[in-house]
Every structure is written in C-alpha cells, then in structure tokens.
Symmetry: C2
Subunit: 288 residues, 2 copies
C-alpha cells in the first residue's frame, strides 16, 4: 500500500483562521495543530484564502504562513532560513511534525547515492552548492542559473566529493511535506484548480454518511480540496460575502454528524475531517 | 436521527496520559483537548486505567480526573463544587465544552415543567433542595435520604414554588456529558464490561479500512470501548506489563493508516479515532 496510489489531498483555510485567539502564543499553538493534522494525513498543499467577510489582519496572515512553512522545514535548515522574528517567538514550544523529509543532521559518510534531502542553495567560488544538513556541502551538477532558495537534492556521488542534482518530482516516493499558497478569494481558488474535487465543510452540509459513494469514487491521480470556514463564519457565508454562490458540483458536507458540542473548533474540524477522508480515500482507492 | 439509536461510546486512557507534558498549564490544555473530543462525539464514560508499565504519578491522575469533571460541570455549579485548587489554576484558559447540559443561568420564570437541569443538593429547614442554576432553589419531592452531591433534576412544578424530582435515565433524551471512572488495570477493566465491544487503538493494529464489516455490525444498545495507549507505551505493551495477553476477541486497530508523521499524539489519536468511529457507527446503525 502506497500513498502515491491515493488522490492528492489539499486543504484551504481562511486568513481569518486565527480570529478566535488573542495572543501570539495561542495563535502559534493553533497553527501548529493545523500543521500536525496536515502532516499526519499527507496534505501536500495548504491554501490560505482571503475571507472577504472580515477585515484582513495581515499580521495573522504573516504568522500563519511563516509558522506553517517553518514547521515544514527540516530542523537543520531552520537557522539558515529563519532568522529570529516576532512570528517565531513561540516556535520553541511547538510540537515537531517529524515528517519523512525531516531527516537528522548527518555525517556525510552516512549518506548514500540516491538519498534525497531538502537543501538550501549557496554559491562557493561561483559554483552552486547546497546545504542539506550534512557536515559538508553538496556540489550541485546543474546548468540552471536561477534557483528558489530551498530545493530537494538527490545525491549522485559521495566520492571523491559529495555531488547532487535537483530532484525531480517522481524521484520522491514518500510524503514530502506541504506547500503553503495564498489565494485572493475562495471562489477564484476553487474554480481554477483542474481535476479537483471540492469538498466544503459546514455544519449546514449533508451528513458525510450520506455521500460515501461520491467520495469513494474519487480516484488517484485526481485532487481533493477540503475547504474550511473561519471560527466566525461558515464557508457559505464567506462565499456569499464574495457576492457569489456555491457551485452545485461542489459537495458541502458535515463531517461531524450528531455533534454534541455547540461548536467544533477549526483545529478540531481539520483533524477530524481529514481522519474520515483518509479512511474513505484509502477504502475507495486501495480497498484494504 | 437520534444519538440514542447508536451504541454507547466510551473511551479508556491511561493514568500516564500526561507524561509527555511538563507544566500544569500544558497538561491542563491536553486534558481539555480530551474533554472536547469526548464531548463532540457523545462519549458517555471516560475510564482512566492504571498504566502498569509506569510509576503512578498520582498528581497527574488527580489533575486528569479533576479537570475532566470540572469541564463537564455546568458553569453555574462550578464555584459551588470546585473551590480554588492547584489543579484548576489554568481552568480559566481552557475552551468550554458547551455540551447540551451546560445550560445558562436562568431566571426561574423562564423554566418550564419537564425541563431537566444539573443541580447540587442542599438542605433548607430539613428539606432537600437543589441549586440548578436558577435564581431560586428547587424543592425536591423525594423520600430518599442519601444523594450524591450532583444530580439531574426534572422540574415538576413552577408555581406556587419551584418543585422537582431526581430525573430518571430515560428522562434524558440528549447527550448529557460523561462520567469519569478509574480502573485498576486495563485487563480487569476490559474483561468486566458486559455487552461491550473492545477496540484497542495501536499503530501495530490492522488498518481500520480492513475491518469495517465488524464495526458496522456493532448495534445499539451495545457499548463500544475504545482504548488508547500512553504517549510512551502502546496498548499491547501496557497489557504485557500486566503479565497478560490481549484477548483474541478484541479488535486492535490502526485508525491512522499511512500516517506520515513519526507519531500521532494522544489528543490527536482520540479526536481522529472518534471521528472515524462516529462515522462508522452512524452508518452501521442509522444508515444515512
């Protein structure tokens, strides 16, 4: 059984996701709960869309994107990529994700040809190298001139010197963390994603027990985007604030049938909904 | 659709559940996460069993039982039942459960015959009364001499004075919170519960996707007990430390198939497992 046989799992949360928390500490902990839930269930994209029903709190947006990306970064690269900042004041108390790409700092004798590690680009004597958390740099065999700062490096030689290339997507055969992407609004986001099944989560939606044939029918390599509302507004209210209506082809689902508490918190909704979706997608695509 | 058509849902967690948290603040927040997950999914009993593989931390046990019970208590009774204590130092920052029995403080003109409210017993002029969060006491019509401190009161008259009786279990038609119970060990607990399906959660268990016919077959009014291990030991290791083996009739299930993080935290395991179980029990008992 292999997660690559499953549909790609993405989520979308609003930039108002932190609006029910007061302090940077509590906001940081909530973001970490989002990151943990996404990492457990192999979510590969986290979209943060603008909630048009609320005034943009740009500080919250920066906090969200910064902490989500920080937690997804292997520990050996954090000092290099994240200088001290206000947003990361509480990074030390957050639970680590321990995702598969979060390898340990290693001695370079222990690395093998074919290994893939997340690295940061640097230039030494005009040549591109990467820091991939070994006790030496990897010389990059490439003719490219422009790199994003953070790349995946595949080791191609260990002797006499450590060499590598930028890994291609199909070199990576395990869950490799998530990308954090911003979207101007929800309608634009959901209408521009190809081969993507949109699931809106809402207490007003149909009980998820009612729609399992539709979810079991979602097959790899399609994508599933699960959209969450804010602590204050439901998904349909956010769409309405954009002056739009929800497309009929989208599923609007209540993933907490018969909930006994008055509300389900966003961090609870994400974990619980992903747990059920993981179960259903696995069942629908691999069987047992 | 009604939760009374579903099997009773219970969980068991070890008294070592807090062993990966250092401060009373963090322990309190973790307990609140347990309480929230149980309340969302209508868990009616929380068993705390002794983890024989660890030295008993009696302070953690007191913290667990105290905060769980405190959070399940309606706010209007908390001051009366819970004087200030070390265990409740962080009660103020915990998210409320807002369960159905957490009614608001009300004026007694607004209460109706047949209403049920949680109350605390007191004696006035030799007669039993109950404080049920109204601006007056309810006179209890009873010949009983012994009461537990906290009872459910059904209002039987509002004029000329407020009267009530102790509610019977079948008077209560909605989720009414959980009881917190202690168990000496896991084997003794699981072997003494009648009509109860035992589900042990463990990464070593069978994928839950493999056993759905067995779970769909669990019918009301049976009970389901979902057992969780500790942050440090798996359920089977805890059973082994009792010198016992796991009964073949128990299901040992992995509710996080293909998990990508190295570990799933206990608070995540409880919420995610209950989300899937809620879905499956609903599907198996009510259909849609």
């Amino acid at each position: 059984m292999n997660h690559q046989q499953l549909p790609n799992l993405w989520i979308a949360i609003p930039d108002s996701s932190l609006s029910d928390e007061q302090t940077i500490r509590d906001k940081s902990i909530k973001i970490c709960q989002f990151a943990r839930a996404c990492s457990i269930f192999r979510v590969s994209k986290i979209y943060i869309y603008h909630d048009s029903s609320q005034r943009l709190r740009s500080q919250d947006l920066v906090l969200l994107t910064t902490i989500l990306r920080y937690l997804d970064t292997p520990q050996y690269l954090r000092k290099r990529l994240y200088p001290h900042s206000r947003e990361l004041a509480y990074a030390g108390i957050l639970h680590p994700l321990s995702s598969p790409h979060h390898q340990e700092l290693q001695r370079f004798e222990d690395v093998k040809v074919g290994d893939i590690r997340v690295g940061v680009i640097c230039q030494v004597n005009g040549q591109y190298c990467a820091d991939v958390g070994l006790d030496g740099l990897v010389l990059l065999e490439t003719r490219k001139k422009n790199f994003v700062n953070k790349i995946n490096v595949k080791i191609t030689a260990t002797k006499p010197i450590l060499k590598g290339v930028e890994a291609r997507p199909d070199d990576i055969r395990t869950y490799w963390g998530y990308d954090v992407l911003e979207a101007r609004n929800l309608v634009e986001l959901t209408e521009t994603l190809p081969n993507t099944h949109i699931i809106l989560t809402s207490r007003k939606g149909r009980y998820i027990t009612n729609v399992d044939p539709e979810i079991f029918a979602i097959k790899s390599p399609d994508n599933v985007l699960m959209v969450f509302g804010s602590p204050k507004k439901d998904v349909d209210e956010i769409v309405a604030s954009e002056g739009k209506k929800i497309k009929i082809s989208y599923m609007m689902l209540n993933t907490f049938p018969l909930q006994a508490t008055r509300t389900v918190r966003l961090e609870e909704a994400i974990l619980g909904s992903l747990a059920i979706l993981n179960f259903m997608l696995l069942k629908g695509n691999i069987g047992n």
